[in-house]
Amino acid sequence: MMKIAVIAPGALPEEAKTAMKADMLTYAEPGTTLEVFAVEEGKIAVAADLDLKAPSTVALAQKIENQGFDAIILDGT
């Protein structure tokens, strides 16, 4: 079992998160689960540099680790 977290650079509609998850699960190992998180701070940007939102990203990464995830993917970096 493996839990992967994806951090998107901005708030995404639920349908986009669902579609992302479905796409990634097509190539995931059996037993891997994933969740899509978003840095809510500021305006959404397509593939923005998450380091521009570093304080929020750091806080979210810590929360994700505390929730027992095994790895984090930063989209857009």
Binding site: A19, A28, A45, D49, Q62, D70, A71, L74, G76, T77
Partner: protein
């Protein structure tokens, strides 16, 4: 990558994972961006990953993806065709062997199998950044590897 100094679990940057894998797939690569305004951000990521020397060009789509996405700039068919047109120039004029469409959400806006079709049609390697980032994360977990505490001390 400030997040790496906050946690001990692996933190994978989608761009750096992609460009480092691209270096194993061929000599020259090109990037197609979805919004010219964020090209400088993409170039910074490439420079940070030390993968600039084999980049032939970064060319944007004619109609940018921007937010909020109230209306999409392309139908799936149009988007695949425009990627093909830009990539053909990068391959023929610049000698690119690998094409990176710098858009982790690409698969939400094209029809399934688009990158495979493009690879076959243009005889070049098209890579999926989201898939590469995901498989890199899985590999790191499986190999019990994470980032260096010397480079990224917990702050």
């Amino acid at each position: 990558m400030a997040a790496r100094s906050a946690v001990r679990i692996p933190v994978v940057g989608a761009a750096s994972a992609t460009y480092h894998l691209v270096y194993q797939l061929g000599g020259k690569y090109a990037v197609i961006s979805v919004n010219e305004k964020i090209n400088p951000t993409f170039l910074r990521a490439i420079k940070l990953a030390d993968c600039e020397s084999r980049l032939t060009s970064m060319r944007p789509l004619k109609r940018p993806f921007s937010v909020p996405m109230d209306s999409l700039p392309y139908t799936p068919e149009e988007l695949e065709e425009e990627i093909a047109e830009i990539a053909a120039k990068q391959i023929e004029e610049e000698g690119a062997q690998i094409i990176v469409v710098a858009f982790t959400l690409l698969n939400l806006f094209v029809k399934p199998g688009a990158l495979e079709r493009l690879s076959s049609r243009l005889n070049a390697v098209f890579v999926d950044s989201q898939a590469i980032a995901f498989k890199t994360a899985e590999m790191l977990v499986r190999l019990k590897l994470s980032h260096s505490e010397r480079e990224y001390p917990l702050l």
